[in-house]
Amino acid sequence: MSDLENFRQETRTWLEANCPQEMRQPVRDDGDVYWGGRNATFQSDAQKAWFEAARDKGYTVPSWPKEYGGAGLSAPEAKVLRQEMARIGARPPLSSFGIWMLGPALLKFGTEGQKKRFLNEIARGEIRWCQGYSEPGSGSDLVSMQTYGEDKGDHWIVNGQKIWTSYADKADWIFCLVRTNKEDKYKGITFMLFDMTGDGVSTKPILLISGNSPFCETFFDNVSVPKSYGEDCPGFVGEINRGWDVAKYLLGHEREMISGMGGGERTTAIGTAMKRHAGKTGDEIDAVLRSEMALFDVDALAFTAMAEKFMDEMKAGKGHPALPNMMKYVGTEINKRRHELMMSAGGSRALEWESEETRGGKAPRDWLRTKANSIEGGTSEVMLNVISKRILELPGG
């Protein structure tokens, strides 16, 4: 047996022993997701057991090095773990912006001291992070952002406003783009890290069309951000005034993560589930709707192959560096189509907004939430701009 096959066997055995049955059910809503952080509580004993087992094994961040809280898995091993988790439907033991976004940026740009501290905190689910990029006047044109940090020697005094900051009211720390030089648009931004409980930070939740309010306006009123948190642990990532490089690199990972909503490892056809569902309610699926589903399933299943190829190529250092933009564009458009079809198949039942049988109107709320997929992390139009400029190298500014 090859090493990889051995690893697969070990992984199966480990998952069998450590992933409770309840944690092998699909995630139904945000309550089923464990986000970690100072104020985190577990929804169930099973969620706690699964998180702790994974944390102790380094499986909250399997491919990060062991000294930073990961398991140090190679790319093929990490793929095997993903496949084995998908096979039993295991939920992610820990989800967080730290894992998807800040972690990769620190691995690339962080100092040893920052990695030791922040990566371990992320891997162990101790600190929950939020992302302070967008501002009221700066969305797609992010680099025009204005939140300003005045240099006070060993610290900055930060003033300004962020918006659409997901989970800002629940986060412990923020990674935040702050202008530190007003003369230079691109080379005047610093990527700062600071505590959300500090003086002058306040948040105000925004209600979404889905009826939930997972994101906020975030205000900074004379917030003091230290330049250092101790030896080899600066309060910013990369260099001062060169935060845009870090921001862009992080966006690549964010886009990759969001593209996964299109069904990275998901391999079941939507039509299968919808037919089963319709059978239960005594409904029939019209022939033309069935056709739409079939054409959708072709696109969605083809995209699972794309997601696999993309991961394999990225891990092997092949593939165009701008590919995450393409993955994000396609993955989010597919996810929106999926939910449109689910709404059509669900009929009037999918319109119910509150009842217990519909788990509080899950279908329409999820459907509405997916509309943000092609906006958050860079809109579809911006993704198409990037593909045409960076991959196809089409002319023009």
Binding site: S291, D297, V298, A316, K318, I387, G396
Partner: protein, 379 residues
Amino acid sequence: MPLFHTEDQAMLADSASGFMAEEGNINKQLRHWRDRDCPDGFGHALWKQMAEMGFTGMLVAEDDGGLGMGHVEAGIVLEEIGRNLTPSPFLTSSVLAATALGHGSSDLKGRYLPGLIEGDSVFAVAIDETAKHRPSRISTKAEKSGNGFKLSGSKSFVIQGASSDMIVVAARTSGSDEDEDGITLFAVPKDASGMHQDPVRLVDSAMASHIKFDGVELDGDAVIGEVDGGREILNAMLAAGRVGVAAEGVGVAQGAMDMTVDYLKQRKQFGKLIGEFQSLQHRAAHLYSEVEIARAVTIKAQQLLDEGAPSADLMTSVAKSKVAKAAGLAVKEGVQMHGGIGMTDEYDIGLYMKRDRALAEFLGDAYFHANRVAELSGY
């Protein structure tokens, strides 16, 4: 296995792309034979060269004198064929017929495979009996007669039928038209008496035959595999052919897209390169995404087929359907973005459109395979 080419495969891709661009290009092959009204629609000299390159026997097992390669490798050659719109018997002979013959007796293999490997023989496959692909229904009959069989019925649109030295024919030896069982495959030599071919030219300049079998007498040793056991071989042949068409379609899509993106960087209107207009940029970027996905699902299907994985069947239909859509988009956008010049015969983009149309239809169109995806998924 990672979803990209191994080093060996990348080397093969290099040599196949160089060779096809040099010898199989549009002016040297497609236009050359089309403008001469060639009754084959392809050149035998190129077929011989492809044999020298080792392409013709790629899918033939090593024990049978071939290279024993897989669908990923065959797909590499097919993608270059697609990119250059190279007319050749590769798909019908080296992929479809070779897959069927792989299930044949050593006698049949000995009779046909050396000619294929040497590039001296050309084979065709006769499955469909109507204008749409429908392999579930086979009514052409082969009745027992002495030690052999008597074949009667008809097949339609047999690609390169009239140019072939042998045709693999799917016929019914028992049961009724729609039965799964009761199919037998026969290797029918070109000079079989009672076989009448009526060749027609298709939109992409390829030749296809309508074939009538008027009590064609066949020896028992013309049977490929077992009598009444042909469905499984037919399915293997179809799977190989479908991923093959998908790979060729990816080449067609890539070729059309590359031409178009180049054009966007050259043509000026309103004092600008037309590639500066965002409406065209977004459509080009969308097209790029679709072509990349088509490529990914094709290599996935090839790998699954090479591994003999049960999910190969589903992914093959996903690939065939997806590629048909993506390549269709590539040629339509290609012609549109070329403006008036895209409508001219002199410009190659229209040739891509024609080839795509024929490939999309061959072995089941996007709708046939989407329907199959639904059926295989239980709805």
